[in-house]
Symmetry: none
C-alpha cells in the first residue's frame, strides 16, 4: 500500500490565473518517481477559511500533505497561523531562524524590516527545514488526527512557494525523511538523454523500435529547444539497473550525436566540458541573439577557463568598427548573410585570441522581415584554425523562440566542432 | 456577492507530474476577468472514487463547478458516468453528436472505432456544448443539490481536457451563458505597479499605512528580481474606478521611483521607452553578467533604435584589448573594482558611440570569492556625457540569481539616468 499524498498550493496568483501551478507538477513528478500516490492537488487563495478547508479535505484523503506558499512576511501570508490552529498549537519563536534572517539582511547591508520576524515563528511541534535560498524556512509535523472518529497518523510538510527555494528544500531536507516512511518505494532506475536536432515524433520512431522485450517505459519531455528522452523502470524489479542500461546502450547507438548530454546537463555545460577536454577557448559575435549565447555560456561556473569574450554588435556600424566586418560585405550581402557572419566570427576570434568563435545574425522579428529575408532567417558562422563555416537557416516562432533556438544551434556548432563531428548537420531536421 | 467557482481538473498526466495544469490557470484567469471568485482548484487522477470525491468537495464550496478532462473514448475516461451518478441520472444517447463524430472520422478518411460512440452519451438533463475542434462534446447542467440539508442551486460545466478544444468551447459556448448568471460580470478594477529596489516586507510597510479607508485589497507578487504590487477592488462596487485610482495616487507618492512601470511592462521595456523618449542610444560592457544585459535589452522588439553594442569582456585581456581598460588599473585595483568598471563603461561608450554605457564586473560564484571580494561582490559603472558613476554592491544568492540581480540594477541605472533620477539610489535598500 503506497503512501497517499495531497499537494496543497496556496496563493492568489494561482486562483486568479496569473501563474500556473508548476510547484504541484514538480512535486507530483517527484512523488511519482518514489512510488507515492498523489491522491489530489488542492489550490486555494490567501484566505484563512479556504486554507483551513483545503487542509481538512487533504487530511481526509492523504497520509501526507505537502503545502507550498503563504510563508512570506506580509499579512496575506497565512499558512503558518492556519496550520498552528489546525494542530491546536501555539506558535513558538525560533531564535536560530531569526538570526539567519538577520544575517541574510546584514550580508546585503540592509536593515531587516520587523515584519520579517514573522518568518521565525513555527507551530510548537514543528521540525524546521532550513532555507539556504531565502528568508522563509519550511517545516514538517507528524501528528495524530481524528479522521471519522479514529486517531490516524498524518504528516505535514510546509515549504515556501518560490520554486527556487522550494525545490532544493524538498530534495535536501524532505526527501531523506520521506524515503524513510512506510509505503515509499525505492527510487526508480532511470536514464535521461538530452537531445537537440530531432522532432519528438522522429525520436519516437527511432526509439520505439528498440522497445518491447524490456518493460522499460519511455517518456519524452519537450522543453524548447531540447527534448529529454527518459527511460524508467521500477527500482524494485530484479536486475532493473542492468535492464535499463541494456536499453540505454541501444538508444545511444540509435540517436548518436543528437544526444548532447545524459542526465540533467545543459547544452552550455556540455560545451564547457568539451572545450575543457580540448583545452580550447571560445568567443562569440552576436547580432540577433543580443548576448544570449554569452549569457548561457557564463551560466556555467568556471567558464572563465574557456570563455574569453562576446561581441554583441547590434548595429551595422558596430559590426564594422568593432569586428572589422567590411562595409562592402554589408552593402553587397546585408547584415543577415553568410558572408557577414563569417567575417563576424573571424573578427571575434582575432580580437579575443580564442581557438573557436561562433557568430549569429538574423531577423528575430516580429518586425524587420523582408521578402528575401523573412522573420526567422538566421545566419550562423564558425571560425577556427583552418575552419570557416557558415549556413543560413529559416527558423520560426516568436522573437524569444528564435533567439533561444538560434543560441542553441550556435552552441551545438561549438560542441560538434569540439567533438570533431560534422558541424553543419546540427539544427533540427526531423 | 460574486459567483464562486471550483475548477476541477482530472487526468493521470496531472497527478503524475507529466504536465502542469495550464487549463486551470487559463480558466482562473478568465473567471478573474469576469469577477468570478475562484474558491478552489481540485486535481485528481482517472479514478472513479476520487473524481466523485472531488465533485462533492467542489459542490460544498462553489456555486459553479467547471471540470475538464475524462471525456475521451477510452475506459479510463470516467467523467460522464461519474457525473451522471452524482446527479442520479441515467445516460442518454445523442444521435446528433454521434453523427458529428462519424463525420469527423470520415473527413479524415478514417474508420471510427466503436469506442468513440461513448462520447455521444450524456446525463439526461445535460445541455450539450458542441466541440468543433474534436470528437468530445462538452455539456452543462443546472441542478438543485442537498448541501447540508438545504436545496441549493449548483451549475456544472464539463469540457474536454485538450486545451485546443476546451478554450474555444469555453469562450464560444460557455461564456454567453455564464455572463447571464447572477454575480457574474463587472471585471474587478485593478492597478499593477512593477517595483524594484525594495523588499516585499518594506513595500508592505509603506503601502499598508495607506490602506484602511478603502476596502481595496493589495497583493504582492515577487518574481525575482521584481515585486509587483497590485490593487484590487470589485468592479461592481460604486465608484470602484475612482476609489482604486485614489489609492493608486498615494501609492505612487509613497513608492516613488521604486515603481519602474505600471501594468505588465518589464524593466527592459521601460529602459527602451525612456531611451526613445530621450532619443538616446545605449551600450553595455559586461563581465560577470556575461551578456545577460544585452539579452534582456534585445528581448524588446525595435531595440535596434537605441541599442548599439554590448562588449562581454570576460577575460582581463579582453578588458584591455577590446575596451582599453588600462593594465595598470587592473593590476592595482583588480577586475572587480569601481575603477575598472568606470573604464569599461567609458570604453564601451567610446567604441559604440552610444549616449550612455553601463558596465558590470563582479564575482558571480560559486567559486572565485576572496576575503576582500566575496562571492556576490559586484561593481557597477555608468558613463555618459559629463557623467561618470560607479558603485560597489554586495549581492547574494546563486550564480544565476547574482547575474539576474546585477542585470536588473544595471538596467535600473540606465532608466534612472534617462529619467534624470539619482542613479546611485538604485539597488535594494529597504
Amino acid at each position: 500500500m503506497s503512501l497517499r499524498v495531497a499537494i496543497l498550493s496556496t496563493g492568489e496568483e494561482l486562483t486568479t490565473g496569473k501563474i500556473a501551478d508548476t510547484n504541484a507538477q514538480w512535486l507530483a513528478d517527484r512523488c511519482f518517481g518514489l512510488g507515492i500516490d498523489v491522491a489530489a492537488v488542492l489550490v486555494v487563495g490567501d484566505d484563512r477559511e479556504r486554507i483551513t478547508w483545503a487542509w481538512e479535505r487533504a487530511f481526509d484523503i492523504a497520509d501526507l500533505v505537502v503545502c507550498t506558499g503563504g510563508l512570506g512576511p506580509t499579512t496575506d501570508d497565512l499558512t503558518t497561523e492556519t496550520v498552528a490552529a489546525l494542530l491546536g498549537e501555539s506558535l513558538r519563536f525560533d531564535e536560530a531562524s531569526a538570526e539567519q534572517v538577520r544575517k541574510l539582511f546584514a550580508s546585503m547591508n540592509r536593515e531587516m524590516p520587523e515584519s520579517n520576524l514573522r518568518q521565525a515563528y513555527f507551530p510548537q511541534s514543528a521540525t524546521i527545514l532550513e532555507n539556504p535560498m531565502g528568508t522563509a524556512p519550511g517545516y514538517r509535523v507528524t501528528c495524530e488526527r481524528d479522521i471519522g472518529g479514529e486517531w490516524i497518523t498524518r504528516h505535514l510538510v510546509v515549504m515556501p512557494g518560490v520554486p527556487r527555494e522550494m525545490k532544493p528544500m524538498f530534495d535536501e531536507r524532505v526527501l531523506p525523511w520521506l524515503t524513510s516512511l512506510p509505503g515509499v518505494g525505492a527510487a526508480p532506475v532511470t536514464r535521461v538523454f538530452q537531445t537537440f536536432g530531432m522532432s519528438e515524433s522522429a525520436l519516437g520512431e527511432r526509439v520505439s523500435g528498440l522497445l518491447g522485450m524490456e518493460d522499460v517505459r519511455v517518456s519524452y519531455r519537450a522543453s524548447f529547444p531540447k527534448i529529454a528522452v527518459k527511460l524508467i523502470l521500477a527500482g524494485s524489479l530484479a536486475g532493473a539497473e542492468q535492464r535499463v542500461e541494456g536499453l540505454a546502450v541501444r538508444v545511444r547507438e540509435a540517436l548518436g550525436p543528437v544526444i548532447y548530454a545524459e542526465g540533467e546537463a545543459t547544452m552550455e555545460e556540455e560545451v564547457g566540458r568539451v572545450l575543457r577536454a580540448n583545452n580550447a577557448t571560445m568567443a562569440a559575435a552576436e547580432s540577433c541573439t543580443g548576448g544570449l549565447i554569452g549569457h548561457r555560456v557564463t551560466d556555467v561556473p568556471g567558464c572563465s577557463q574557456y570563455f574569453l569574450a562576446d561581441f554583441v554588435t547590434y548595429s551595422n556600424e558596430a559590426k564594422v568598427r568593432v569586428l572589422g566586418v567590411s562595409a562592402q560585405t554589408l552593402d553587397s550581402f546585408g547584415a543577415v548573410s553568410e558572408e557577414t557572419v563569417r567575417e563576424m566570427a573571424a573578427g571575434a576570434r582575432r580580437l579575443s585570441g580564442a581557438d573557436v568563435a561562433v557568430a549569429t545574425s538574423g531577423v528575430a522579428g516580429p518586425d524587420g522581415g523582408t521578402k528575401e529575408r523573412p522573420v526567422g532567417t538566421v545566419c550562423f558562422g564558425l571560425d577556427a584554425d583552418g575552419v570557416q563555416l557558415s549556413r543560413r537557416h529559416q527558423l520560426w516562432g516568436t522573437r524569444a523562440w528564435i533567439k533561444l533556438l538560434t543560441s542553441q544551434i550556435a552552441l551545438d556548432w561549438v560542441r560538434r566542432w569540439g567533438l570533431g563531428l560534422p558541424v553543419l548537420e546540427s539544427g533540427f531536421r526531423s
